[in-house]
């Protein structure tokens, strides 16, 4: 049920004496923590002051520079920050990376004392690693977009006739195609709001001219919108989807996006779908939840080679959590599809809401661990 990653793990302080305070260690282009002392095994707190002119990132690594035990990201010039690390007995060193990418290393230091619990180590991801994950992920998205475009075409074709049940069915199919792509909403730029925006935040709400896309059509279909209104909204959606298909190859996906989305897709499910805020009448929240689980699996799949190498235990716990959630949701599927959320019993609702919550708790170490600091990337 609980996250098994590095975060929140008790630091084994009982297992070993607290290391003596080594005083304030300096980092700058002139040196990486000169005079770093030997430490006792267990939890240590290092006070690090940036005496240089450029932000520095400090890591504690094993002596082969393979595994990372602690990160202190972005120590600004002139500031002092604390780095907390739990170390087992052995030989370690620190690396100090300046803003321009130059890396300095400290002298090695020795950790002595008994074996301790609460040690977490992982192989830090590189921008190249994340770039590969992005490439994998975008391949899946490209395929998903083709399916989405085909299904919005079919939706638009259905609006030529009078069969509302058919239109609603095709709406749901196409909408779920989109919900499976949840991991890229930032990449999609303005298309995300045009295609799947909600009326909140628009001055005139559901009547606002900027309210377009799946939820606009949903609103019309389930609130007796006219054929003309539905046709116009569907045509607009189809255009926007095809616009996105064309634009996507030229849109950039930020390197940290894929790890972030491993839990963020389901965060949105929790915030918008399981509160019915994104239900404009179709009551298809459970189907959306199932699609969001698929979308989460897609992000995890793209990260699998990286996690397999860097932190296999984290990968295993993430997969286990998603499988458990998938089973809970699938069990709610009935002979006529998914029932409306509000028809679930209290016990079913609690199990659903609680399992989604537990799953995001299990997934949240992934971005923290794989994230590569790119402060320039906020243009």
């Amino acid at each position: 049920m609980y996250a098994t990653g590095g975060r929140g793990t008790p630091a084994g302080s009982a297992a070993a004496a607290i290391s003596p305070d080594p005083g304030v260690l300096a980092v700058s282009s002139r040196g990486c923590l000169p005079g770093i002392p030997d430490l006792r095994s267990g939890r240590s707190t290092l006070r690090i002051r940036n005496t240089g002119n450029s932000p520095e990132e400090v890591q504690i690594l094993d002596d082969k520079h393979t595994y990372d035990y602690a990160d202190l990201e972005m120590v600004a010039p002139g500031t002092t920050r604390e780095l907390v690390v739990v170390l087992p007995p052995g030989r370690f060193g620190a690396s100090c990376e300046a803003d321009d990418g130059t890396i300095g290393y400290s002298d090695p230091f020795q950790v002595t004392g008994p074996a301790v619990g609460g040690v977490h180590r992982w192989i830090p991801a590189t921008l190249t690693d994340l770039g590969n994950a992005v490439t994998n992920y975008r391949t899946s998205v490209t395929a998903g977009l083709q399916q989405l475009a085909a299904d919005t075409d079919r939706l638009q074709a259905a609006t030529g006739g009078q069969d509302r049940a058919m239109i609603k069915k095709r709406w749901l199919t196409a909408h779920l195609d989109y919900e499976r792509l949840g991991g890229v909403y930032d990449t999609f730029g303005d298309y995300a709001d045009k295609i799947n925006g909600l009326p909140s935040g628009l001055p005139r709400g559901v009547q606002d001219p900027d309210f377009t896309g799946f939820h606009k059509i949903e609103y019309l279909l389930w609130h007796n919108g006219s054929d003309d209104q539905i046709r116009a909204a569907t045509r607009r959606l189809d255009q926007d989807v095809h616009g996105l298909v064309k634009a996507f190859p030229h849109q950039e996906t930020a390197p940290n996006d894929v790890p972030l989305r491993t839990h963020e897709i389901l965060e949105n499910t929790l915030q918008l779908t399981l509160t019915s805020q994104d239900d404009l009448g179709s009551h298809s929240g459970l189907a959306t939840t199932a699609a969001n689980i698929d979308g989460t699996r897609m992000t995890l799949k793209a990260l699998t080679p990286l996690l397999q190498q860097n932190d296999p235990a984290l990968l295993a716990s993430a997969r286990q959590a998603i499988d458990r959630l998938d089973a809970v949701v699938t069990a709610l599927h009935g002979p006529h599809g998914y029932p409306p959320l509000r028809s679930l019993s209290t016990a079913q609702r609690e199990r659903l809401d609680g399992t989604v919550s537990g799953t995001v708790e299990s997934l949240d170490p992934i971005p923290t661990e794989l994230e590569v600091l790119v402060t320039q990337d906020n243009s």
Partner: protein, 430 residues
Amino acid sequence: MDETPSTPQSPELVDRSPELVEGQDRTVRPAHGSSRRGFLLGGATAGAAAVVAAGRRVALADDTRPGSAGIAADELSPYGPNQRVLLNEPSRATAMISFDVIATGRKQLSDLFTVISERVKLLAAGEPTAVSDPSRPPADNGILGPLFTGNQVGVLIGVGASLFDHRFGLAARRPAGLKPMRTFPNDNLDPAICHGDLSMQFTAATPDVVTHALRDLTKHTRGAMQPRWRVDGFTSPPRPDGAPRNLLGFKDGTSNPSTTDTTTLDRLVWTTDGGSFQVIRIIRNLVEFWDRVSLQEQELMIGRRRDDGSPLDADGELTAPDYARDPQGLIIPTDAHIRLANPRTPRTEATRILRRSWNYDLGLDSNGQLNQGTLFTCYQQDIERQFEAVQTRLIDEPLTDYISPVGGGYFYVLPGLADKNDRYAKALLS
């Protein structure tokens, strides 16, 4: 500052508004002039005000010293050119309530403001709460026990743009710049907790004092105005020092314009007629989601360290960030909350606002998520020039994924009561 033990009030505190007591003596009505049943007939004014002088004499045995939450006693006074209560640091406890007026016509509206004014004066002066007429239900709710001394609760009265519609013939009197709160792109507003004809805020060092005042004001105004929405708030003691923390775990309220420099207040807060514009925003914090975000990312979104409130480029909560030294945002990102909210440039100086925020906790969302957030208020001379300029800069800031404005409104805080004979909105209604 943590829960200061009760201290007997000094005579100085008790004697702060002697003129008020005289004024109360003059407004005493028969105790059975039941406001609850008789408001619209004009019998409501100060039903519980009998023998206020006695209340003054027993004022020494109070439970909480007003100064214990860092609020100077004189800043709870409703008297003066401005409602200076808004300048106080956020109190430990507050209730923010919005009302719609259901009285009809200018005369009834005027009567309503008279009652509100009398109750505020009474709360400031104190009152005995013993039952004076056993043939009627008690006039006081008794929440503060038999001895309620005054000067414990701050009351802040504002009016919304909707008060200036056709109902009372006040359209031409609408304060320039007062309008309904607009919808910003990241908002998720629930109409049930937006806007209102009147805003009323109660602030005190303990929740019971807030509740006492809230119950008193609503009791005496029933039939004339109807509560529309309400949010209670709290602030926390310093952890361990400096500004109190919000529910995101960060210190909030570190950087604000001076509240003692009259030039600053006249430039940023007060309107020329002694009022101020109040913006209320009920901002849900998606606390579960937030707690699943790395500290690094949290700090980059805010622009400050979580542990001690320092800006990311310096040590010390009170050290000003130096954006000029970091134009690319390598240390404090250009889209960090503190940087967008207050870029600290000469050009943005006139957009500064006086922020007063409380935390709120409204139980649970429909799916078991904690319904917690920030009861954000701010004060300014000009909503468009100040709050809306700040909020426009904040559109799509990275923090928007973790916060969700769900309600609030724009109000005009009326000038203060000039003296014991004055009433709120006198100038508007004359």
